[in-house]
């Protein structure tokens, strides 16, 4: 399965591009899906270590607001993406130094606490953030090129797709490195890991900072695509959504988050269009069905199909 992952990734990318060409509104949905997929890889890293962050929407919101705040001054998408990634990484380092001392529920709840603090700051500091009204983001030049709306949206879609491939590839390398393999050790028996001389906290901190950067990048793309940021990006239900996507896609490989995010966004859009008052219910039901009847997520389902065919 691992071997054909790159091939499947190309297949998924081709399907996404075809969809985006045939239906322009899908381009928007799929860009958001790619952005969330990038952020969810970060959740995946922490899940490898058996830790659930219920607050990673913090980094998405941080990336998104970085774009919203700095767009008028350094209005270039490439610069802003870099700033969002570095900023989120630094924030992740500071928070990570604190939260990686804790495990399980304490880890989850402290992350939740951080994101909720950020949420209320965004909402209450009206003077800077315009509160729950949010901030509009104007179309910005990309690498010095000023573009019209359609070209801009295509470029952001392309950048999101490119980043998904590059970051997915890098994380795949990382996961098969000794440091990435050690994450699984934290999940099974952390004490033994330390007996072997591996600093468990350091391993987790590195993964945490990476996950924060991935969140920042995802958030920046979301801000550039939806061109409107609100504090809701940081609310705890958004963090829950990220974990949801991770499980929906399956925690097996780096392709899982993108499968999950695409499925999630499409179900959400169609559910919201056909049952305006019940889209959450439909998403919740889908999640329950996946957990109860397809424990490996979409990735696990795909793996089973492949295996069946190979036999």
């Amino acid at each position: 399965m691992r071997k054909i992952e790159p091939f499947l990734a190309l297949l998924l990318a081709a399907a996404m591009i075809t969809a985006a060409v045939t239906a322009p509104w899908l381009r928007f949905v799929l860009t958001i899906a790619l952005a969330k997929g990038i952020a969810v890889i970060g959740i995946l890293l922490l899940l490898r270590a058996g830790q659930v962050s219920f607050g990673h929407a913090l980094y998405i919101a941080f990336g998104a607001y970085t774009v919203a705040f700095l767009a008028p001054r350094y209005g270039d998408a490439v610069v802003l993406l870099l700033l969002a990634a570095v900023g989120a990484g630094l924030l992740g380092l500071v928070i990570g130094l604190f939260v990686t001392r804790y495990r399980q529920i304490f880890f989850g709840m402290l992350n939740l606490a951080m994101s909720m603090v950020f949420y209320s700051l965004l909402e209450k500091l009206y003077h800077y953030t315009k509160g729950s009204d949010g901030i509009r983001v104007e179309i910005m030049p990309i690498a010095g090129q000023t573009l019209d709306r359609v070209a801009y949206e295509w470029w952001i879609f392309g950048i999101a797709m490119g980043l998904a491939f590059v970051l997915g590839f890098l994380i795949r390398l990382y996961l098969s490195s000794p440091m990435g393999e050690a994450l699984a050790g934290i999940k099974t028996r952390e004490t033994r890991l330390e007996f072997m001389g591996v600093p468990a906290r350091g391993v987790l901190l590195a993964a945490y900072v990476m996950s924060a950067m991935l969140g920042g990048i995802g958030g920046a793309i979301i801000a550039m695509t939806s061109r409107h940021v609100t504090p809701l990006l940081s609310y705890w239900t958004s963090s829950g959504e990220l974990v949801f996507i991770a499980i929906l896609g399956g925690a097996g490989g780096v392709l899982g988050p993108f499968l999950g995010a695409a499925a999630y966004e499409l179900v959400r859009i169609y559910a919201a269009a056909s049952f305006a008052d019940a889209w959450q219910m439909i998403l919740g039901a889908v999640l329950l069905l996946v957990i109860l009847f397809a424990p490996g997520g979409l990735w696990g389902m795909a793996a089973r199909v492949m295996k069946g065919r190979a036999q």
Binding site: L110, L112, V243, I247, D277, M281, L288, I291
Partner: protein, 311 residues
């Protein structure tokens, strides 16, 4: 200082009274969550939905009965009975049909199942009760207000918030402590909390204990909601707000600790209401600041017990 007190004394008094009554409500919800977590080891996100459904049901039942000539004095027992009804109906359904299937699964999966349930119930509320605010405060109006002497002045405050809410919280605390320590059923619950394996090995029917505890926890959540319904208009989203606060209380108190939950609820209730009157921007942040400070000093929570590291 003396001058400040002269200027703001009344406000502080009001904040203390408000804090006391909201601490009572926070405690009822959080202690239920803590109990369920202690026994089932599941962080029940849908606990917030049970709170909201308890509130909505109590208001609806109250409005229905008032219209048919229910005397005003009966409105408080009605609140309590409707909460018991909600818990007794929804608790067993959720435990039997859903949670029972996932006890063997990973923590993240269990968390997500309750998150999915939360999403579903959130829309069920909107479908049943709509999105318009619902208000029914007969219980609070019937009891009237009291002038609380404070220094040379008086603070007018409702009897309901001053006596009923903290009163029921204290009765619950004492009753629960007695139940868990002095009755056989209670001791069985404590035994399962402390060491599930040893308890089942000694012949305790864990399935029954789980069902009982979850139903009881659901009743407490619904009770918190029902008692809050006379004090504020009910709008969508109250469940989501309540559950994050309860998470903070549980993590700060230490897992499975009732007295800890009471003390933490008091700290957070008072902290929050003092913030409301003096620094409203900080209101939502205060509980998390308290949580972070407590966990910095005591990583296992205020009353938590340090678990020995497994090798």
């Amino acid at each position: 200082m003396a001058e400040w007190f002269q200027d703001n004394g009344l406000l502080l008094g009001l904040a203390l009274l408000d804090g006391l009554s909201s601490a009572g409500l926070i405690f009822l919800v959080a202690v239920g969550l803590n109990l369920v977590f202690g026994v089932l080891r599941i962080i029940n996100v849908a606990h917030g939905s049970l709170y909201a459904i308890g509130a909505y049901s109590a208001a609806s039942i109250g409005i229905f009965l008032s219209g048919r000539g229910l005397p005003d004095w009966a409105s408080i027992p009605t609140l309590i009975l409707s909460a018991a009804l909600v818990g007794a109906i929804l608790g067993p359904i959720i435990e039997r049909l859903l949670l029972r299937r996932i006890y063997a699964q990973e923590e993240v999966v269990q968390l997500l199942v309750t998150f999915a349930l939360f999403m579903i119930l959130e829309d069920v509320q909107k479908l049943l009760w709509g999105v318009q605010p619902i208000h029914h405060d007969t219980a609070m109006r019937w009891l009237g207000t009291i002038d609380v002497p404070f220094g040379a002045d008086f603070i007018p405050f409702t009897n309901y918030q001053l006596f009923v809410l903290p009163g029921i919280a204290i009765v619950t605390l004492v009753g629960l402590a007695w139940f868990l320590r002095r009755t056989l059923t209670g001791r069985v619950i404590v035994a399962v909390t402390t060491d599930r394996e040893a308890a089942t090995a000694m012949g305790i029917d864990a399935a029954k204990v789980f069902l009982l505890t979850f139903t009881f926890g659901a009743m407490l959540a619904a009770l918190g909601g029902a008692l809050s319904s006379p004090t504020a208009a009910l709008v969508p989203g109250i469940g989501a707000q309540t559950i994050v606060l309860s998470f903070a209380v549980v993590a700060t108190a230490g897992l499975g600790q009732i007295e800890g939950a009471a003390l933490t609820s008091l700290m957070m209730g008072l902290g929050r209401s003092i913030a409301v009157y003096f620094e409203p921007e900080l209101e939502v942040v205060v509980p998390y600041i308290i949580m972070v400070l407590v966990l910095l000093v005591r990583p296992q929570g205020l009353f938590g017990v340090i678990e020995t590291r497994r090798v």
